[in-house]
């Protein structure tokens, strides 16, 4: 799985022997994964391959049958504040009675801890995160009035408020418009360039090599992980997707090389 480069620092995320089961169904089996600091990684795999479960189980949101997760060399439980999570947009009820800026402010709740209320500082932080995702003008809009792309930007802004060093995103491009997709990619790339680590569940195989430098291909087990150039091959994709994909990365990348 190593792509050859020697990384002297501790990986941002290290997953060892991770196994997760729902009832008697094994969803993830014996995953070993290392994500270097400052990389931008796509998690791909067919439906039901356990991509979302991987993101969730890294954070202990679903119980692990076995496995250890460490963030910057320390157990996740001690590093919670280092990890920022962007769940699937569809996982929440957008009719919840609250405004955009209040939703973004939730990103500061973790730092505040129990009982303490967000104040002026948290408000400013939320506004500046909204500015980064180009949603400042919607700050006082009710969240039910947002489009899919705007909802995703709000979620990203909430994650930015957390000032974490590892970003876990579950399908950030699901059902968003092209402008939002570009904006989100730009922000994620900036984060990675600034030494943050980004791990995103990704569906569109066409954009993998454009957006990410590393990839983890999952189908219950880990099929392969490493740099996109080496690991994003039709052989690995066939292993993960069976015959269900007609996507051949080599053809595409060779065309681009010309």
């Amino acid at each position: 799985m190593s792509s050859g480069e020697q990384n002297p620092v501790v990986p941002a995320v290290r997953v060892t022997d991770l196994t997760v089961a729902y009832g008697d169904k094994t969803v993830l089996w014996d995953i070993d994964l290392e994500i270097p600091v400052g990389s931008m990684v796509a998690v791909v795999g067919p439906n039901g391959a356990g991509k979302t479960t991987l993101i969730k189980s890294i954070q202990g949101l679903v119980p692990r049958v076995a496995g250890v997760v460490s963030i910057h060399g320390k157990p996740y439980e001690k590093q919670r504040k280092e990890v920022s999570y962007v769940p699937q947009r569809g996982s929440v009820d957008w009719d919840f009675p609250t405004s955009v800026v209040d939703t973004v402010k939730m990103g500061s709740y973790g730092d505040l801890g129990w009982i303490r209320r967000p104040g002026k500082k948290e408000h400013e932080k939320a506004l500046s995160a909204l500015e980064k995702v180009d949603m400042l003008e919607f700050a006082h809009r009710q969240i039910s009035q947002l489009s899919g792309g705007q909802q995703q930007r709000v979620f990203l802004a909430r994650a930015l408020v957390q000032s974490a060093s590892v970003y876990l995103l579950d399908e950030p491009f699901q059902g968003v418009d092209a402008t939002t997709e570009k904006a989100i990619v730009r922000i994620l790339k900036e984060l990675a360039a600034g030494g943050k680590t980004v791990l995103a569940v990704h569906h569109d195989l066409n954009t993998v090599s454009e957006y990410y430098e590393r990839i983890a291909i999952v189908n219950v087990g880990l099929v392969a992980s490493g740099s996109v150039d080496e690991v994003f091959t039709s052989k690995n994709l066939m292993t993960a997707y069976g015959g269900k994909t007609s996507f051949f990365p080599e053809r595409k990348s060779s065309r681009r090389a010309v």
Binding site: Q59, D93, T98, M106
Partner: protein
């Protein structure tokens, strides 16, 4: 108003307010029917605690009741998590079972004790003023006002301390969990609070009205506001208004007070459901009609605009053929004429400058 009537309303107001506060969160969490489960299951706790202390006015009863409420919730979750039955069915399995155990125990061992199932279901708030708190000879008012008052304070304290935790875990449970709050703990705390509320309230108003007061006022409030804080506030206002007007309806018709309060809650909801400005049924219909008209007007204007510039051959210069009925077409034309966006000359339609302006802004916006 007699002091007796005043006392009944005082108790009703406190009950309504303490129900509405946690109710807002229950409704948003899609757990309204948990109230049903809790308000019935607490009877088991009351009966068991009574067997233990042999005193109907002991505070142990309240604790027993709250514990059995939480027990009901835990059992429902356990049945749920087994994934062997559907979520709503697990509610329907657990609470009738706990309730029936309580009913059996009552009818077997406590026939001569005054906890009858009828008053559990309907309560008797009319009796509330008779049970008074008397300290060293001083009459301090109805006892249930103090019991419910403490529960109201507890609820307010809980909601104001954990407002942010409740908000984030209600909106996005997995995110709340990822930032270190424990949504399950918050869930059980909320359930305990609801249990306490049901226990305190069921004596006064019975378990059916408790459900009405917990669920309906927040549902009314939800249709009227976009802010969680205002939703809670409005819930309290709706609950209190239903309590007071329910009392007078009962007085006027000479019927059960708790029943009238629940009835008024239902009437409030019906009115809000139909008339809420944006989310009410009529509001939605009006908005749809407005959109349809807006779109029709815009299409006609755009087609005239294209016609003017000579680059639309297919579009008819008048309104015929564009709309599904001639009636609708003449209505659109009439509206646009009134707004001064088109003019009619020689049986043909023309854009005015104002109409052109609207086309430009509409097209630009898209």
């Amino acid at each position: 108003m007699s002091p007796h009537q005043f006392d009944i309303q005082l108790v009703a107001i406190i009950v309504a307010a303490s129900c509405a506060v946690p109710g807002a969160f229950l409704v948003l969490r899609r757990m309204s029917m948990m109230t049903d489960a809790i308000s019935h299951s607490i009877l088991l706790g009351i009966v068991l605690a009574f067997f233990l202390v042999k005193d109907l006015s002991s505070p142990i009863l309240i604790i027993g009741a709250a514990a059995s409420g939480v027990l009901a919730i835990s059992l429902i979750e356990a049945v749920n998590r087994s994934r062997l039955v559907k979520k709503d069915a697990s509610i329907g399995i657990v609470f009738p079972f706990l309730f029936s155990v309580a009913v059996i125990l009552l009818s077997k061992y406590a026939r001569n004790v005054h906890i009858d199932t009828h008053s559990v279901l309907l309560g008797e708030i009319a009796f509330a003023p008779f049970n008074r708190l008397i300290l060293s000879g001083m009459d301090l008012g109805p006892k249930s006002a103090y019991v419910m008052g403490s529960i109201l304070l507890l609820n307010l304290l809980f909601i104001s301390l954990f407002y942010k935790e409740l908000k984030v875990s209600t909106f996005d449970e997995s995110f709340a969990s990822s930032i270190g709050f424990r949504p399950r703990l918050i869930h059980y705390l909320l359930m305990a609070v609801v249990s306490f509320t049901c226990v305190g309230a069921f004596d006064a108003v019975g378990s059916i009205l408790v459900i009405a007061l917990i669920v309906i006022p927040p549902c009314c409030a939800y249709l009227l506001t976009d802010s969680l804080f205002r939703m809670i506030l409005l819930s309290v206002i709706f609950g209190i208004s239903a309590a007071v007007s329910g009392f007078w309806v009962a007085n006027w018709l000479d019927v059960n007070i708790a029943g009238s309060m629940a009835f008024v809650c239902g009437v409030f909801f019906l009115v809000v459901f139909l008339l809420a400005p944006q989310r009410g049924l009529f509001g939605i219909m009006r908005e749809k009609r407005r959109q349809r008209m807006d779109f029709a007007e815009a299409s006609l204007l755009v087609s005239l605009y294209n016609q003017e510039r000579g680059d639309a051959v297919k579009d008819h210069p008048d309104s015929r053929g564009m709309f599904r009925s001639a009636d609708f077409a003449s209505k659109v034309v009439e509206f646009l004429k009134q707004k001064g966006e088109i003019a009619v000359a020689g049986g043909k339609l023309f854009l005015t400058e104002k109409g052109r302006e609207r086309v430009r802004t509409t097209v630009e916006r898209r």
